[in-house]
């Protein structure tokens, strides 16, 4: 469950990037967060992963009020929220397997667990046979799938996908959306941040529209109307 209560955020004086946001997202929902560039979507993502702090209001994830989260607690929050981005954020000198394993290595997991978990998420995203390839040796879609696999290694309750199809052609984009839907079917809450009208309209899931830092529309089985 994600709950935002009257959340405001500004980077400049007299200019609020988010203003009075109230949202409630149930556990296991698939939500599209839509809006034009600069509308405040990415700022909202940053608040959810503890990269930025709210100026006003509260952000609650599960039973956890992360509004006043300490620096020490942020890593634990991030292990519960998987994040993927438009630019994949893979390390070019590591293979796809190593990229995924890296997320567990840096959290101090034992090698036996890493091998087991990485294998299962690589299977889930369909990259089992390309695990030893480097990012530049695979397509953009496959790179994004590797990024999704990495986001899933901690078995997060929430998956935040910030413009995951932005760098992909329509075939690869659809594959990624299918993968996100499959992950959602396992019970993971998926928040898809996008401005891709076609994808949002195909999904027929809940759509939250943001404009100028405010929620202007929130509809079950909605459409991209901005």
């Amino acid at each position: 469950m994600i709950k935002l209560v009257n959340v405001s955020k500004s980077y400049l004086k007299n200019f609020k990037i988010l203003s009075g946001i109230n949202l409630y997202i149930e556990a296991g929902e698939f939500v599209s967060l839509v809006g034009q560039s600069g509308s405040g979507k990415t700022s909202l993502v940053k608040l959810l992963i503890g990269e930025e702090k709210v100026d006003d209001g509260r952000v609650i994830i599960g039973d956890w009020d992360i509004t006043k989260i300490s620096r020490r607690e942020i890593p634990y929050l991030r292990r519960q929220i998987g994040v993927i981005f438009q630019d994949f954020k893979l390390l070019p000198q590591k293979t796809l397997w190593e990229n995924v394993a890296f997320a567990l290595e840096v959290c101090g997991q034992p090698q036996s667990k890493i091998d087991k978990v990485v294998l299962s998420v690589m299977r889930l995203v369909g990259l089992e046979d390309k695990k030893n390839r480097y990012p530049h040796e695979v397509s953009g879609g496959e790179q994004q799938r590797a990024a999704i696999a990495r986001a899933l290694v901690h078995q997060p309750k929430i998956l935040l996908a910030d413009e995951p199809t932005g760098n992909l052609d329509s075939i690869n984009a659809n594959e990624i959306i299918d993968l996100l839907l499959r992950i959602n079917n396992f019970g993971t809450t998926v928040i898809l941040v996008t401005h891709n009208r076609e994808i949002v309209n195909q999904l027929k899931r809940r759509v939250i529209a943001i404009e100028k830092g405010c929620v202007v529309s929130d509809k079950e089985k909605g459409k991209y109307l901005l």
């Binding site: 620096r71 020490r72 942020i74 954020k89 959290c107 034992p110 901690h154």
Partner: protein, 303 residues
């Protein structure tokens, strides 16, 4: 825990190897800083030895008349011993003086022959007075000058305190200049270590970003950089040990000639105090490097 430590070491060694030229530059500066510290330490040790040698020579001799009786001498000795600034008074009788003289000149047959031809003991008995405190020697000399005794033949007040003052002065100046040089090196070392870690962070910015994204603990992100700083310190101290002992080996024969009558062995001094000297240096350089790294991490790695 052990696994995390091994991974931190792995990441740290990656930092160092990926920025090898920067590592070399950092270690060079640290080695130069340590070289200045050790050179100053050598000067300090030598000047301390020189001061001790001069201090040993600071005593006051009263030569007594040949016909002075033992009672008169004992009475004078007691009088002087009771002075507050006197540490001890040593009485050398005529016979003792002759024995010391013969011993001292045993390799000089001409002197011994002349003494034999003289047919009598020409030496006077004496009282050698050691001051409690070298700094009080001038006042003690004044007090001794005022002793009115008809058995005193002559008074040797060779004033070594002037030499001592000069040595003290030189040592103080060397220490001041050395301290200034060390301060410059410490500051430079901090800047260089800070910049090295800053560049290492820049080189690893993508890894750091991903580490933060996937929930790596803060300590896992910054510890490799801190460890790199400690490795810089360790390597610099090892290098300084390797280059400084041969340097001392070259210096030692010259010191033996210069301090001919005094047993000075600078190599032994550095060997006897090896762990204190180089352990402290390792600790200090580690603190400097870790502090600089910490500042760089706080600023650039946003941990």
């Amino acid at each position: 825990m052990f696994l995390s430590l091994m991974r931190i070491i792995k990441f740290s060694l990656q930092d160092i190897s990926r920025n090898i030229w920067l590592t070399i530059a950092t270690i060079t500066i640290l080695v130069l800083a340590l070289l200045s510290v050790n050179t100053l330490l050598t000067v300090e040790v030598l000047s301390r030895h020189a001061i001790d040698a001069v201090k040993e020579k600071i005593d006051i001799s009263l030569y007594l008349k040949v016909d002075a009786s033992e009672e008169q001498i004992t009475s004078l000795k007691t009088q002087i011993s009771q002075m507050s600034k006197v540490k001890q008074v040593l009485y050398t009788s005529k016979a003792d003086a002759l024995r010391y003289f013969r011993e001292k000149n045993k390799d000089n047959p001409e002197v011994l022959t002349a003494l034999r031809e003289l047919g009598r003991n020409p030496l006077s008995p004496s009282l050698v007075i050691a001051p409690n405190n070298v700094e009080e020697a001038p006042q003690l000399i004044n007090e001794i000058k005022q002793i009115d005794s008809n058995i005193i033949e002559s008074r040797d007040f060779a004033d070594n305190t002037v030499i001592l003052e000069k040595i003290n002065d030189i040592t103080k100046k060397i220490s001041e200049v050395g301290l200034f040089i060390i301060m410059i090196f410490v500051f430079t070392s901090m800047l260089v270590a800070y910049n090295s870690i800053k560049v290492a962070i820049y080189t690893h910015r993508r890894e750091i970003e991903i580490m933060r994204l996937v929930g790596a603990s803060n300590s896992f992100i910054y510890l490799p950089f801190v460890l790199s700083a400690i490795i810089y310190a360790l390597v610099s101290v090892v290098i300084i040990v390797i280059i400084f002992y041969p340097f001392l080996g070259i210096l030692q024969p010259y010191l033996e000639v210069f301090f001919m009558d005094y047993n000075i062995n600078i190599i032994n001094y550095f060997l006897d105090n090896f762990w204190i000297i180089f352990g402290l240096q390792f600790l200090s350089v580690s603190i400097i490097s870790v502090l600089s790294s910490w500042l760089a991490i706080r600023r650039y790695a946003k941990v």
